[in-house]
Symmetry: D2
Subunit: 459 residues, 4 copies
Amino acid sequence: MFDELHEECGVFGCYHIPDAASMTYYGLHSLQHRGQEASGIAAEHDGEITVLKGRGLTVDVFRKPELASLEGVNAIGHVRYSTAGGAEAANIQPIVSHSSRLGDVAVAHNGQIVNEKELRRELEEKGAIFQGTSDSEVILHLIRMEEGTLEERVKKAAARLEGAFAVLVEGEGKLFAFRDTHGLRPLSTARFQDGWMVSSETCAFEVMGIYDSETVPAGGFCTFEDGILRRSSYREADAPRVCAMEYIYFARPDSVIEDVNVHKFRKETGRILATGDDVQADVVIGVPDSSLSAAIGYSEASGLPFETGLVKNRYVGRTFIQPTQEMRDRGVRMKLSPVKEAVEGKSVIMIDDSIVRGTTSRRIVRLLREAGAREIHVRIASPVLKLPCFYGVDISTKEELIGHRMTVEEIREYLEADSLRFMTPEQLRFAAGTAGLCTACFDGSYCTDLYSYSEVLSN
Amino acid sequence: MFDELHEECGVFGCYHIPDAASMTYYGLHSLQHRGQEASGIAAEHDGEITVLKGRGLTVDVFRKPELASLEGVNAIGHVRYSTAGGAEAANIQPIVSHSSRLGDVAVAHNGQIVNEKELRRELEEKGAIFQGTSDSEVILHLIRMEEGTLEERVKKAAARLEGAFAVLVEGEGKLFAFRDTHGLRPLSTARFQDGWMVSSETCAFEVMGIYDSETVPAGGFCTFEDGILRRSSYREADAPRVCAMEYIYFARPDSVIEDVNVHKFRKETGRILATGDDVQADVVIGVPDSSLSAAIGYSEASGLPFETGLVKNRYVGRTFIQPTQEMRDRGVRMKLSPVKEAVEGKSVIMIDDSIVRGTTSRRIVRLLREAGAREIHVRIASPVLKLPCFYGVDISTKEELIGHRMTVEEIREYLEADSLRFMTPEQLRFAAGTAGLCTACFDGSYCTDLYSYSEVLSN
Amino acid sequence: MFDELHEECGVFGCYHIPDAASMTYYGLHSLQHRGQEASGIAAEHDGEITVLKGRGLTVDVFRKPELASLEGVNAIGHVRYSTAGGAEAANIQPIVSHSSRLGDVAVAHNGQIVNEKELRRELEEKGAIFQGTSDSEVILHLIRMEEGTLEERVKKAAARLEGAFAVLVEGEGKLFAFRDTHGLRPLSTARFQDGWMVSSETCAFEVMGIYDSETVPAGGFCTFEDGILRRSSYREADAPRVCAMEYIYFARPDSVIEDVNVHKFRKETGRILATGDDVQADVVIGVPDSSLSAAIGYSEASGLPFETGLVKNRYVGRTFIQPTQEMRDRGVRMKLSPVKEAVEGKSVIMIDDSIVRGTTSRRIVRLLREAGAREIHVRIASPVLKLPCFYGVDISTKEELIGHRMTVEEIREYLEADSLRFMTPEQLRFAAGTAGLCTACFDGSYCTDLYSYSEVLSN
Amino acid sequence: MFDELHEECGVFGCYHIPDAASMTYYGLHSLQHRGQEASGIAAEHDGEITVLKGRGLTVDVFRKPELASLEGVNAIGHVRYSTAGGAEAANIQPIVSHSSRLGDVAVAHNGQIVNEKELRRELEEKGAIFQGTSDSEVILHLIRMEEGTLEERVKKAAARLEGAFAVLVEGEGKLFAFRDTHGLRPLSTARFQDGWMVSSETCAFEVMGIYDSETVPAGGFCTFEDGILRRSSYREADAPRVCAMEYIYFARPDSVIEDVNVHKFRKETGRILATGDDVQADVVIGVPDSSLSAAIGYSEASGLPFETGLVKNRYVGRTFIQPTQEMRDRGVRMKLSPVKEAVEGKSVIMIDDSIVRGTTSRRIVRLLREAGAREIHVRIASPVLKLPCFYGVDISTKEELIGHRMTVEEIREYLEADSLRFMTPEQLRFAAGTAGLCTACFDGSYCTDLYSYSEVLSN
């Protein structure tokens, strides 16, 4: 799929850990693949929350003096991928509210709240004013409006949200973490020294040398208070359905979601694709980096050799200039190069994790052809993408999806591939084993009411 | 080996190609792995050379307006890795001289000239003054001192140089390219539209869609003039001996050096390591990115499954902060993470391309052990590094090399590995097939006189 | 006084003026002396408000593309001097609220609201949450809470504020401007083409070639709507008492406040100081830039020649390094130099506008002595500063004021001056002619209730 | 004249002074008015010279860590105004040469060498190559080519130069300073602690608290060696003729050149203008900052009151945007504002130091008229500028000078002034008292042969 889809965020928090801001910095660094546009950390010290945030990678936003100014043993952080419309500084997270009555509270959020418009309207009627368009601001207002202790208020606020989310809240020396009732967005906790860490993905724990972690269950609520973690739930949960795209593309291969390792899942998709595939081929290659695991799986199941057919340029930056139209057309060249020796004269199985618009896949097929591949058989380690996502993945309309507009044969023709196969949603679910999957973007089975977004589907 | 060794540079040039500076920009971008510290382009237009250069990646140094100011159909460019001592702005290449008598001349150079001190002394005696410590300045002065046409002068200058080098010279609407008589540093040419390109590595041609290229032979001299390329030699050449490290570590897998593809070479080293290796193991993993090809080769030859045992964080930047000593010790964690599912409870063959100081390898072994690997068998896809390099690789003393100070068994103990095996120099040469190799850093067979550097060895 | 005191802000707005953001940029540039820490512009287009703001000078925050993105014929802007505590990005103005119910509203504010803590508490109880500590956020919330049309709500909000302020509000295609009931902070309007401009100081109009302007009266309220300006008042006003420091130090000499030109006021203070001053002196000099007008006035009234006794270095930046303690002690040297020829061997009248801590004045006296001045008679063009200001000038405690701790004779001794004279508050009021002055920092006659700030005085 | 003319540089050096680089930083900061485009410092430590330089103000180029890296008790520095053509990094000074035979040598230079083309040709024939177009590179080559001790070689090199220059050379633990034989560019020395300082202007000494300094005489040569300063001359000198523009416009008023204080000189020009001026006027104003001294002199001599008629915006930066043509036309407004109260209804004497193109003066006259001035009598504190300068001031053609194309009456009409008077060259020389002046740009009496530049005059 290669740089066509974007996750919207990652969150990381520390509770009762010395120099919490620095540890959060490390955590965010490990979650950087979930968002490269902006980064922020809010640390609490004696009830006062200091926040630092800015555009750019975590390593660019924070330098030593900045980190040193963020005191305290509790901190929450956020990395963000921002779409054009929401790039305003007012939307960079965490978002903090200061109040002499309620104290400082900070919120960081990954996902999408589908009843956000409805909540915003209701809150405005009750007097809220919004300085940005971030869901976190809505959550802050909900927390403020409710009655009771901070924990009670955060829980009641959580119960008002519909959609996909993993949320961290910090205030009064406590930390709260909760996950949507469908378990769409991942969230895990881990013990660290005398405290805890909480993260969108477990890969951020491993950086600290922690390999034991627990998934926050769908609808689960974690209260970090008085030095301990108390687990509860804020609402009855449905059978968990993790966003399939987390496994397919977003998460790092070393992460574990709902007890299923991402690399293992991807290998399994490769194995399934290989099963019963009767194409005559010489080698299997994957589009780096996200499709390599599936390609290894395909290789193992088929017995065909795995090859490094494509090399990725590690220095591609956002400032890349493409002065001529010709160059723009062939922009993918700057990022991927075929290894001629690995594909020349061969019948190649090319594994890609998914197809969004199809333009990049088509260019890769042409690159391989140019490098001498005799036949190119494209195998997609997921089903046909047909529908938009309202749970935090930036597919906002059906029209942008080649799988919505074309049949598989038409797509094959467009890609100029010799053959093309996708997985079925059933096969995908099989690959996930014990973990339930949301496959709405493949088959329309959205697991929540869609509120105002349902219009998008009916168009 | 993972970020322990550094190549010193890469060069790229365009002759008779519209918007030569932009095309050179693309070329340098593909050579970025050869140097990330500084970047420069010198374009010639009507005999006038304009140069732009600065610290940082090519994409950061050049923006659209900068590129637009570099007019002309000829251009040469350079990417640089600079050691601490030579980071001065005066050393960023290309280096240009302006002269009303001889016109503008620009030089870009990759490698190391071993008789540089002797030449510098001689040139100073004849009146040269040096503003920096770059070899390119020496070459410029040699060109200026000689008699005859520019081509004659460049050729005579080339003949004075000893060592490892790939040099581009530009002036009078012409371009010249030459390579050392041992072929230590790679250099290739390719036809592009009505002109030519010349590059340290062929991967830069593929970005333009060119898969046909020719190696500049050892001692070869290319004159691009009057719209054509005229090949000659400036001195009798020895049997070519390409720097083994180019194949082992520096070059991109999709590059071809002396008709041998780098990926293929690396796979071959893996195969050789597997042959006769009687260790009982479950999986083969490679240290990303440079050791993956060798690991695939080992897997193919041994029949053991290839696995993604280590994941690399793609967002590691130079500004990374490591506030605690503990973190610094475990700095490798920020860059590499083990995939627990791939290694837990298993006996693992871990392929690395080479070992310099050993500190990183030791940390990786520990990471794998922490992630549950039962046994770790380290296989190095090259011989034991024992001696410094005077040909452009930044090993300047024997002392920094663990292979100089310890026996293989001592190294194994230091790495905390269950077993350890290296290749022999003979095996390495075998892997290179028809291409000759310089293996001086392994066995001391330096292919040139070492001049003042010979002292380093005798200490 | 020279860089010891700081004004807190300046505001500028455009109504019904093509390319309002660019014109606001010019206006802010002319108000830059009122705040150099941050700058922001909020432009309205079809009910939508876009805001751009950042740290730094107006010329650094806004470049052509940024300005071009701020469409619309209405805009308000702000320049800010931020104290250490409030330097957070969340406090940079204008502050904008987005609401589907009430539309977008932006607020920019200069001054200090003394009942801000009380209002904040009340608003929080009604459900407001604050993301920063800026008074503008309080004003936004007040506007939102009230009932009626936007104009009615802004007026009711204005009536709740106590203190010193000049406020601009923008929304629904309208602009509102109002000033505190004591007229402490200046605010003026001017016709420009088919629209209007409103500014903290009239110097910003002159940049546009407008020399006719009207003061917004104390308690006055301006409604810019339907292409016209409708003047009213939001509360009964007291006799106007402009902050004396505006005339003495902050405002530009070409500005007119309450029909009194600043330069003329300052000259008058010089004249008054000269009257009855029987010291024997040779020349009069002023500390640049703010004391030059008073020095000219003294020279005219006394008949003593005006001289350029001190030269200011125009390139002093905030990044200035002072490596040694000795240098730090003499930091004033980097900024001011005596003109030896103008003062050597002479008895010098040195005019300064005011004395805060006294450290800078003492250094200047030493500089002049060093340059050979025989006698130095310091004349301060204002009374002794004794008390803190709660109306927007950054004197927050009595203790920091040398005039609070010492008698005039003690100050003279500290300054090492041969004689020292201040003005009396009565003389200052006389200099202001028809304009009333707030002289609270000199004589304690605060013109508002001080709410929670009254504690500061009683300590 | 206001930002129309530019000096080309300033130099500052320290000999035998602890932390010489930091002290040089202070010195350059005081010379910043002589060049704001680039700044550099070269410090020597044990024979090794380290240079740091970059674009921008001294305070921006050097931060604490940079300064700390420049060790040693000797240092030379440079501030530069660079014309469009020469903005290349290769031209930023000081320029350093490294040589194993001759050691490191650094050169910094202010002025213009008129036989530079001839010298460059000669040096190229002898084998020199030039990486930039700076005169300093020529001087470095001359030094290298000569025979003898470093002092002898520097002296011989100095003797080859024709034109206007103040040059600092550093190497072998010594410092050398010399000035052209006509004394066109200023240069002074001063004792500081156990060492010496040398500077283009004496204002840089005063920052250190030093008021005693000595002019380096025309043709003078200073050798700082073995802890002492030895004065000599490198060639017979002519009667000194300091560039008149140094006194009129470039130098700071607190500087002393050839024993004449700049402020005093300027006051004298004002006095001379007043003598016999029979115009009926109410006030005298000066264009800030350079014409204020002359205005004070005119005021004293005429008895007319001196007024602050124009205020300068201190925050004008180079990034100022002028989006509309109308704004561009009125660009001067952003920088200068009239003080209406000071000029309204009055007959005004407006003193300006000189007129180059006349466009700015015309705009200022219009501003004053707009602000209500009844009559505007322009008095220029220098003669009519008619000819180009080849000695370091950026007037390169006659055509750009309004004084070359028009008579005084025509200029008056163009300026829309009620009357206009210039000084005569004789009057100017009279104002300089004992100091001789170069008045070539007024009357064509160039004090050197012009070599290739003589063509410019004959066109």
